[in-house]
């Protein structure tokens, strides 16, 4: 019995060598869902809330704003939508695995793209705060010889963010696949011992019912939400450090 773990399924190809895989399609589905939920939540807002929807919408906005102002500073209030986007896109992408979709976060390109956006923002704030000359000069500190190390250190930020997120989600996928195949094998052994192998009953993988869900709670739900949170927290901390904001 072999376990086949591969990347996203390529759905179609566009000119210029652009391939559209499950990753992209599922990302767009998640984005559309988030957009629709936002529109639904903010429909008919009142100064005096009448609907639970509005309470939920206000709670989400206040929570994200508080997260941003606590971890960055008040002047980064405009950053809240970006953090909200990173949180929701990451968490829902990971959780889409529960609906047997291919989770976009199990594709390195997705997390790498996100961490590159964060890297661009970090670099923008570093240059804005220190000036281009000081920013470049910062690579030669403390001695000129260390410049390559500094460059690696700079690139390590987005790469570590991308691989951390990717690795955590994909490990969940791998572990899930391993559990499924292990349970399938265990079911086969069980039916063999009961002398039922080869009958129609052996098609029902009895041990695969229910048990993987317990593991899935950790590997998909907990890990997915945790990684979304970690990614957002790291984004805020790195950008704040880049902007040189002191508490």
């Amino acid at each position: 019995m072999s376990i086949d773990i591969s990347g996203a399924k390529i759905l179609f190809e566009l000119p210029l060598g652009i391939t559209i895989t499950e990753t992209q399609v599922n990302s767009w589905i998640v984005m559309i869902v988030i957009t629709l939920v936002c529109i639904w939540l903010t429909r008919g807002l009142k100064v005096r809330p009448e609907s639970k929807r509005q309470v939920v919408a206000e709670y989400i906005v206040k929570t994200v704003k508080k997260l941003v102002s606590d971890n960055m500073s008040e002047r980064f209030g405009f950053f809240a939508p970006f953090i909200g986007a990173a949180l929701s896109l990451s968490a829902l992408s990971s959780l889409s695995g529960l609906l047997t979709m291919f989770p976009p976060t199990a594709d390195l390109n997705t997390t790498l793209g996100w961490s590159l956006v964060v890297f661009v923002i970090i670099t923008y704030y570093k240059i804005k705060t220190d000036g281009m000359w000081n920013y470049l000069k910062g690579y030669t500190k403390p001695v000129f010889i260390l410049t390559p190390i500094n460059i690696i250190g700079e690139i390590a930020t987005p790469l570590s963010m991308a691989f951390r997120h990717f690795g955590n989600i994909v490990s969940g996928v791998v572990v899930s696949a391993l559990i499924y195949s292990a349970l399938a094998a265990a079911s086969g052994v069980l039916y063999g011992a009961l002398g039922l192998s080869g009958t129609f009953i052996s098609d029902i993988m009895v041990l695969q019912i229910g048990l993987p869900a317990i593991f899935s709670i950790y590997f998909d739900v907990f890990s997915g939400c945790l990684q979304a949170f970690i990614f957002s927290m790291l984004t805020m901390v790195y950008v704040k450090m880049g902007a040189g904001v002191e508490d």
Binding site: G17, L45, A57, A85, L89, D107, G113
Partner: protein, 166 residues
Amino acid sequence: MGNLDFISIDFWHILIAMMNLIILAFILKKFLFKPVNDILRKRQEEVDKIYTDADQALKKAEADRAFYEDKMKNAEKEADNLIKAASVRAGERSDEIINNARQEAVHMISRAEDDIALKRKKAVDGMKDDISDMVIDLAGKVVDKEIDQEIHENLIEEAIENLGEK
């Protein structure tokens, strides 16, 4: 079509992921954060307005209270003044009435005295006439002589006058 490798790097996929995140940030800003922030700001404004209104109402009430308390104090003073003025006027009026009465009385007394004097004069005159008539008559009867009545009358009157003057 097949699958991607387990770990693969594709420039376009990275670009799409970057765009996805940025686009979603703007979507969230437009469809979630902006409307909710607007409503939160409006609520804050409403709350602020309620507070300032309450403060203003309180201030106005305080001012009104001070104004009316002042007025009440003034009213007491005014009432005092009124009573004083009224009593002063009443005093003046009673004095006036008393004076008038006194004058009237004096007037009446003097008139009565005049009256008495006149009456006395009349009575004296009457008595003079009676006495002179009587004397003449008596004298006439006594003397039984023709006496010029007119001369005698004058004589007697003169005598009585002198009598009265004594």
